[in-house]
């Protein structure tokens, strides 16, 4: 574990650089469309992931979270921005250096079957990294593969099976075994438990936590499921249409969510409790129908935001991440708790005024609960 003394230019200092293993700085990925426009899949995303922690990345489809995951592993090239691993720029590495670097960073995909080559056996699939990097073949490789299968809780006899002969949960464990083959330090879990049944998901979450403790792994946990992200992560970032809208420690973010989109996500989670669900449905009533297009100017969330319609500032100025607590940042002009949002909206409606000035008494702009 080397301590890098090169300073991080421009990025906000959230932690000392020695315990940051992966950092994204101003990561941007635009996909050009025919006719000059482009899809801004990832737009200026920066965050630090500390060693042995789990960093949760939450968002829905179109948020860019999977694109970020791929960029962190250089499975895609950014339009601009950097990814540093232990202080070294990932995109400045030569092909050879990159292949060596890949040993330390692995990924588990969402679809358990698509992630495995359907024409290969489990032994061949898990053994591929061992062949490529360690030159293992035959008996030696099979032995190591058997150890890995033990590690992820699979019976050794499955080594000769093909993916279509196994269940989703088993295939996902094979994917995890493959990711562990080269003893990496950092694993990206891209919706790794989203495509399996509830009971299997519980098993996989336990397995992942267990492996993290035993092997000292660092995870980037990408998911749309807030409850699972909370269970797994120590730090969380919420993404919306290419930008991070709220980021902080797990307890702060779930204890005191401040961005209207985070509120929206929390109200929308289906809860296996009929009373709670009825309450949530009432809370959701009267919400804004999702538009098809994302605004180009100003805050991307404003068309769906109960406050967005009330303020000209939201329409003209894209909010940047601001610090509302030592471990809590929000990208919103009027961050506040869900209850006060309701108050603000009804007060503004009653007074039929728009929010002209953040200093006006009816609208608090920075407020954290004591």
């Amino acid at each position: 574990m080397m301590v890098q003394s090169t300073p991080q230019t421009g990025a906000q200092a959230v932690s000392t650089s020695s315990d940051v293993i992966v950092a994204a700085e101003g990561l941007t990925r635009h996909f050009p469309l025919a006719g000059g426009a482009s899809v801004r899949a990832v737009d200026g995303v920066s965050f630090d992931i500390r060693r042995a922690e789990t960093f949760g990345l939450v968002g829905e489809s179109g948020s860019g979270k999977s694109t970020v995951a791929r960029l962190l592993l250089r499975l895609d090239e950014p339009t601009s921005g950097r990814v540093t691993v232990d202080g070294n720029d990932l995109f400045a590495l030569s092909n050879r250096e990159l292949r060596r670097q890949r040993r330390r960073m692995q990924i588990v995909f969402q679809d358990p079957f698509a992630a495995l080559n359907r024409r290969k056996t489990v032994e061949q699939i898990v053994g591929l990294p061992l062949s490529v990097h360690l030159g293992l073949r035959g008996q030696a490789r099979a032995a190591r593969v058997a150890e890995l299968l033990d590690l992820v809780g699979l019976r050794r006899e499955l080594a000769g099976r093909y993916p279509h002969q196994m269940s989703g949960g088993q295939c996902q464990r094979v994917g995890i075994a493959r990711a562990l083959a080269l003893e990496p330090e950092f694993i990206v879990l891209d919706e790794a438990v989203s495509a399996v049944d509830v009971s299997i998901r519980a098993q996989l979450l336990n397995l992942l936590k267990d492996l993290q403790i035993r092997l000292g792994l660092t995870y980037l946990f990408v998911s749309h499921d807030l409850a699972v992200v909370r269970y797994m992560s120590s730090s969380v970032a919420v993404m919306y249409h290419g930008r991070i809208v709220e980021m902080g420690s797990r307890d702060r973010l779930f204890g005191d969510p401040m961005h209207p989109y985070t509120h929206c996500l929390m109200k929308a989670i289906p809860i296996p409790d009929p009373d709670q669900e009825r309450a949530n449905a009432r809370a959701r009533a009267g919400g804004v129908v999702e538009p098809d297009a994302v605004p180009v100017e100003g805050c991307r969330f404003r068309h769906r935001c109960p406050l967005g319609a009330l303020s000209p500032r939201c329409a003209s100025e894209e909010p940047q991440l601001i610090q509302v607590a030592p471990d809590h940042q929000v990208a919103c002009h009027y961050p506040q708790s869900p209850e006060s949002v309701v108050n603000v909206v009804s007060t503004a409606a009653a007074a039929q005024q728009s929010i002209a000035d953040p200093a006006s008494s009816s609208l608090p702009s920075h407020r954290s609960r004591g």
Binding site: P270, P274, E277, R284
Partner: protein
């Protein structure tokens, strides 16, 4: 709620011992084994299960959308008439006018080369004899009802021009166009984002209430079912292992599988320091069911009897049953616990 024979009561749809079987290389596989349920008018029934439980096949069987090599057994009585004995032509009329279905993936259920208007109008005109102009205005109206903005303009858009949530609304519009009595929704929101899912389910709830439809909601998501249904049936290995009104099911589950499933859900207030409660093993394959109770290999409370003897349905009160040898004891215990907690 059981219909007395010979009289058509308010029970709209009665399913008796429905089964779906396949022949494969001299084996017979039965992914759906003996499913029975009653659906009165206005009732929202949820069928909840994991993959391999047979719930989607059940939905397809009710709509008679399964063809050989699938074989259907049992009876599906819609207002007393057995759908399984109808000819293809008669069944097509039923699908247009009495019973319709919403599918999971709107992108593959909507025809990409036709406008949504054309598809909805087609559904309307199959269901009733109206002129093209009347069908078009009815289509615009139903699009508005499901919350598509600017329906008179969007009616001429193609499916790919809509977002996922909007496409699902279009599907719902199509399903409603025939003024049906029963709606079957097969994982209608699984492919959608969480926030979109919430909105679509809210919409479905509103529309169903306005039209007084009876709904069967098939889902793997217990949270979605909790928010929408009046009554829940839990499906495992092709059979309904528990049935209860929605509040009872979530607060006082009886069957060990239901209890374990509820426990395995990762909730927003889960204790981070504790491991998740899991169900050991995996759901059984349709062709390789365990002897006796199909859940016994994974059941923490299994005893010798569970291996030898398949449990029969134990009735626990109005609209409650469970398939477990110990259903009565378990029900008594959980009722006692709940009332104890309340006092």
């Amino acid at each position: 709620m059981i219909a007395t024979s010979g009289v058509s009561t308010k029970t709209l749809l009665e399913v008796r011992d429905l089964s779906v079987s396949f022949r494969a290389n001299r084996n017979v596989i039965e992914p759906v084994r003996g499913v029975s349920l009653d659906l009165p008018r206005g009732r929202r029934l949820g069928i909840v299960g994991e993959s391999g439980s047979g719930k989607s096949l059940t939905a397809l069987a009710l709509m008679r959308l399964l063809h050989s090599p699938a074989r259907l057994g049992g009876q599906v009585l819609l207002d007393g008439e057995d759908l399984l004995t109808l000819s293809d032509g008669q069944m097509a009329k039923v699908r247009a006018r009495r019973m319709s279905m919403i599918y999971q993936d709107p992108m593959s259920s909507l025809n990409p080369v036709f406008t949504v208007g054309k598809q909805i109008i087609e559904a309307i005109r199959i269901a009733s004899d109206v002129s093209a102009a009347q069908a078009r205005s009815a289509a615009i109206e139903v699009l508005g009802e499901v919350g598509v903005p600017e329906p008179s303009r969007r009616i001429d858009s193609y499916p790919h021009e809509f977002s996922g949530g909007m496409r699902q609304r279009v599907m719902i519009a199509m399903a409603l166009s025939g003024d049906v009595d029963v709606l079957i929704a097969d994982e209608p929101t699984t492919a959608l984002d969480v926030t979109t899912q919430a909105r679509v389910m809210d919409l479905l709830s509103r529309v169903v209430a306005e039209r007084g439809l009876a709904v069967i909601l098939i889902t793997h998501d217990l949270g979605v079912a909790a928010g929408f249904c009046d009554e829940i049936k839990v499906m495992y290995a092709g059979r309904l292992v528990e049935s209860a009104p929605v509040d009872s099911l979530y607060q006082r589950p009886v069957h060990p599988y239901t209890e374990a499933l509820l426990g395995a859900i990762c909730q927003l207030d889960a204790d981070i320091a504790q491991p998740m409660t899991t169900i050991a093993g995996q759901p059984p394959l349709p062709g390789a069911l365990p002897r006796g109770c199909s859940f016994h290999p994974r059941c923490p409370d299994a005893v010798a009897r569970c291996t030898d003897e398949a449990p029969s349905t134990v009735h626990l009160g109005p609209a409650r049953f469970a398939e477990c040898h110990f259903a009565l004891e378990r029900a008594a215990m959980s009722d006692a616990l709940t009332s104890g907690a309340q006092s």
